[in-house]
């Protein structure tokens, strides 16, 4: 069974006719060709590597069908930077060595994108915010530092500029 849908990803509209059972994550990776979003488990919704921001909320794209996202606006890791300027969360990860193999990174960045719009500051709160994405390489220590770095950057920005980094 096929259906025609339209999903906006990183500002570009994708109008496609897809199988009803096509997962959103496969739409993003295979139809739109945006392979920055990863798949780390078998539709268990546990690893979080597939996390994207859908209508402003971080969601696991392996737990949704593409047809459920018809009409939605999706932000993926490819949409974070503005031309050559990295998003504060990308920058924090780079500065603080928040990634090793990089496989979990898209999920973490998109999860933390949502968190950073209204950041909390304690280690416990930061760790709670990112607990839905598993990282096997880093032990999370540097990721916590990366998030703190990003919080400081975001909070130092004038409100207008701050808003520009969070378009959805």
């Amino acid at each position: 069974m096929k259906r025609s849908i339209s999903i906006t990803i990183n500002g570009e509209v994708y109008e496609e006719t897809v199988d009803q059972r096509l997962l959103l994550v496969d739409f993003i990776r295979e139809v739109a060709g945006l392979t920055g979003t990863h798949v780390g488990c078998s539709v268990e919704g546990r690893c979080g590597a597939c996390t994207v921001v859908l209508n402003g909320k971080a969601v696991k794209a392996c737990l949704l069908l593409a047809v459920q996202a018809d009409g939605a606006s999706v932000l993926t890791i490819e949409g974070l930077a503005k031309d050559d300027a990295l998003h504060p969360i990308q920058d924090g990860f780079w500065e603080k060595h928040g990634l090793q193999c990089g496989f979990c990174t898209p999920g973490l960045l998109m999860t933390l994108y949502e968190f950073l719009q209204n950041p909390k500051h304690s280690d416990e709160e930061i760790r709670t915010a990112m607990s839905g994405v598993i990282c096997r390489c880093t032990g999370y220590v540097h990721i916590v530092e990366a998030v703190k770095h990003a919080i400081a950057t975001v909070e130092a920005l004038p409100p207008e500029e701050r808003k520009e980094w969070f378009p959805v």
Binding site: E78, L99, Q100, F103, T128, H142
Partner: protein, 788 residues
């Protein structure tokens, strides 16, 4: 003139990160080829059974299905294991015969018995469901101790028993040591099945044409090794096999080192179907097949004098290797190395170790970070703790008394340890924890009904494996290799033979090469992973990056300096050689007159673009390949870890309040990267020791086939991990660097278990088994209380 390497010790940002942060990494699943089809497996639902029939008609008839094969279709390929792909160890070895797909009989839940090829993965999954298999269940053996019994079912009837490997390792005179002992600690320790499980599962993409031969993109730590084993198995000339690890890979931790049946299947299908065949393992398959490591029972005895001196050790090790059907390690290379590393950082002159590796109806043991030694490290450091308590000696003191004191050291069983400083490391760990005042705090806490404890572990960690060990063990070299090659614009390509996937080679190798050549890391680009464009090497294993591979890059860079100096002198119209120049700030600078300098970019330009300007008779080009082999049979780092916990006696739950890792990186190249390696190693150690376990029920069904059941720690499950450097440069590497991170998880289980037991001293519990789940701790508390 040799100058200190300016980039060594700098925590610069990683060069590999930008592409990963913007979503432009290239991992195996991202690679797509025209005409590509996808492959998936039908796997056994029984732990041991005869296959009475396989009906593939319905699956084959499904639109979009391109092929369905069963074991009968691959029998002509022959058995997977050869001399080259089986460890060549001194003990008695049995070798299983098997094919990429099982024929007639399956031996564990998850055993591949048929393969389906389809145009897309959705069709593939439908087709796999349609393959109809009938089984006749056979008796199973799940428990390794039962596997040794005369009446146990046999996995391989032609062997006569279930013993895959057996070795007796005696050294010194253990009998005399035990006869003299004031105290003997005798205990049975059990380490469960747990291990690597990277976030990216296995996968491959194979393509073949008779002209070029086979190209295999593969999630692997060892492209060159896989290449020559594939050529052998598929009966192709070596020139017709190319293996490529994609630019990026989502972790491995040992699990991507063996040669697997699934990748052989993909190659065979690509050759048969003449179209690209891709396989991406799903998480369920991954949990059923890889990352299952450890799994040992140790009957360990320690002989001590009253003053805490360890006189000798006996250990009967039983390793459960599962079905033993992967190539290169075959399930028993890990327990073998674990046995050799059992005594580890302790100086124990008299040992008697007996290692038995058995097969059972489980997945084959695969390598996992802390290769083979996780279980033994737990057992020995636990036994030492028990001895300290029995003799009323402080746990730090008893360790210092028995730690390796002088370097270089050769252990009783022949392991070479080059350098380290245990007293210094202990001092830093104790200072960090304020250990002097801790005992006071602890007894006050006990009086207030709170249970605080501290536990230590100590050990040596492999810093690369030399050829002297690797050649006999795996028929592979241990050298590190790198080609350092200037391009015509003064930038430098470093091609290495390993295949890093998160360890930061692109950055650390760039740092050292830049430092040797007077350039900036931005001028250096590191390439790897493709057997057709990089030098032959053993791959990314055993913490050999900073020890072997990086050292090769340093030597290769240094080898270019005489030629660079000669070109510079020629361009300056002076007589001068290497010793007259320093290489700094992108220039070759004459030391006696620093105004005399030549841009390194100009030297490269002359060597490559305008060779007419070269000194007469000089060969064009500016490149060198070095093979680094340390002049010792083993380099190691010496480490001390400590955990501080609080335990709730009512529930058995505990919290790791502090985890302090004092580690020896020799000379760290990028301290931030080193810290990251240690954090990750400790995190995996805590996961493996405290919460992860592959569980098989009595029918051999694996109960942990999702990440919900196999619990890899989240950010909320782990403490903040504190790292402290205590570096003793290796005398055997050009920069003193040591490899770091592979052995780290092995430090964890004893540190945490010792801390928990310490906290519960008033209740008198004794921890012998892993994992350290609250339930286990609670049961131990209950048992101890009912004894009173």
């Amino acid at each position: 003139m040799a100058t200190a390497n300016a980039w060594v010790g700098q925590s610069i940002k990683r060069k590999e990160d930008h592409r990963l942060l913007v979503g432009e990494g290239q991992y195996l699943p991202d690679i797509v080829l025209p005409r590509m089809v996808v492959m998936g497996f039908v796997r056994s639902i029984y732990a041991h059974a005869k296959i009475t029939s396989i009906d593939t008609t319905q699956a084959a008839a499904l639109p979009g299905v391109r092929a369905v094969l069963t074991g009968a279709d691959v029998k002509h390929l022959g058995s997977v294991l050869s001399d080259m792909s089986t460890p060549n160890l001194p003990g008695e070895t049995n070798r299983p015969i098997f094919w990429p797909l099982s024929i007639d009989e399956v031996k564990y839940v998850g055993d591949p018995l048929a393969v389906v090829v389809a145009r897309d993965k959705y069709t593939l999954e439908d087709a796999i469901e349609l393959v109809d298999v009938e089984y006749e269940p056979l008796d199973i053996v799940i428990d390794p101790e039962y596997a040794l019994q005369a009446d146990a079912p046999r996995l391989y009837p032609d062997w006569g028993d279930n013993v895959l490997y057996h070795q007796h390792i005696p050294a010194g005179d253990a009998e005399a040591a035990f006869a003299q002992a004031d105290l003997v600690i005798k205990e049975r320790f059990r380490c469960h099945r747990t291990g690597g499980q990277p976030m990216e599962t296995r996968g491959c993409l194979a393509t073949y044409n008779p002209g070029e031969g086979l190209t295999l993109w593969l999630t692997t730590q060892r492209p060159h090794i896989k290449r020559h084993l594939l050529a052998e198995y598929l009966n192709l000339p070596h020139s017709q096999v190319r293996v490529i690890m994609p630019k990026d890979m989502g972790g491995a931790f040992g699990t991507k080192a063996p040669l697997y049946r699934e990748e052989l299947m993909a190659c065979h299908l690509a050759m048969k179907l003449r179209r690209p065949v891709k396989w991406i393992e799903n998480r369920q398959e991954s949990l059923m097949n890889v990352g299952q490591g450890r799994d040992q029972i140790h009957q360990l005895e320690l002989a001590l004098k009253k003053d805490g001196t360890i006189l000798g050790l006996r250990d009967r090790i039983l390793a459960d290797c599962g079905d033993a059907r992967t190539a290169i390690y075959v399930g028993f290379a890990m327990p073998f190395l674990g046995a050799m590393y059992l005594i580890n950082g302790y100086d124990i002159p008299n040992v008697d170790i007996d290692l038995t590796c058995v097969v059972t109806n489980k997945a084959c043991l695969t390598p996992s970070r802390a290769f083979g030694s996780f279980a033994g490290r737990f057992a020995l450091d636990r036994a030492v703790e028990m001895a300290a308590r029995a003799l009323e000696i402080d746990p730090v003191e008893i360790r210092l008394k028995n730690a390796i004191k002088t370097f270089p050291h050769v252990s009783a069983v022949g392991v070479h340890v080059d350098s380290g400083d245990f007293p210094g490391s202990f001092a830093k760990a104790c200072a960090a924890l304020d250990y002097d005042n801790f005992r006071q705090e602890q007894s006050e806490a006990w009086q207030n009904g709170r249970y605080l404890g501290v536990g230590f572990s100590m050990g040596v960690e492999i810093s690369g494996v030399p050829s002297e060990v690797l050649v006999p063990m795996e028929r592979q070299p241990g050298f590190g290799v790198a080609t350092v090659q200037f391009d015509a614009h003064g930038k430098v390509q470093v091609a290495e033979g390993d295949s890093p996937h998160g360890q930061g080679h692109e950055t650390t190798i760039a740092q050292v090469v830049a430092g040797e050549l007077g350039l900036s890391p931005e001028d250096i680009y590191v390439t790897y992973g493709d057997t057709h464009s990089g030098p032959f090497a053993a791959g990314t294993i055993g913490s050999r990056g900073a020890s072997y591979t990086l050292s090769a890059a340093v030597l290769a860079a240094r080898a270019l300096r005489p030629k660079m100096a000669n070109i510079a002198a020629h361009l300056l119209h002076i007589e001068a050689g290497e010793d007259d120049f320093v290489f700094r700030d992108g220039h070759a600078i004459l030391t006696r007159d620093e105004s005399q300098r030549v841009p390194i970019a100009k030297i490269a330009e002359v060597a490559l673009l305008s060779p007419t300007e070269l000194p007469p008779g000089m060969e064009a080009g500016l490149e060198h390949t070095s093979h680094f082999e340390a002049e010792t049979a083993g380099m190691h780092s010496c480490n001390v870890h400590a955990a501080q916990v609080e335990v709730s006696p009512d529930t058995g739950e505990y919290k790791i309040l502090r985890y302090v890792a004092v580690d020896d990186a020799g000379q760290p190249i990028n301290p931030m990267v080193v810290r990251g390696q240690i954090h990750g190693g400790v995190a995996m150690g805590i996961g493996n020791a405290c919460m992860e376990e592959f569980i098989y029920d009595e029918n051999g069904q694996q109960l942990t086939t999702t990440l919900l059941d196999y619990h890899i720690p989240s950010s909320l499950d782990l403490p903040h991990i504190e790292t402290i450097e205590h570096n003793v440069p290796s005398p055997h590497t050009p920069l003193g660097s040591k490899g770091k991170g592979e052995g780290t998880p092995g430090m964890v289980p004893a540190a945490v278990a010792n801390a928990i037991e310490d906290a519960l001293q008033p209740l008198g519990v004794k921890i012998t088994d892993l994992p350290l789940t609250p339930e286990r701790i609670w049961k131990l508390i209950q048992a101890a209380q009912s004894k009173d």
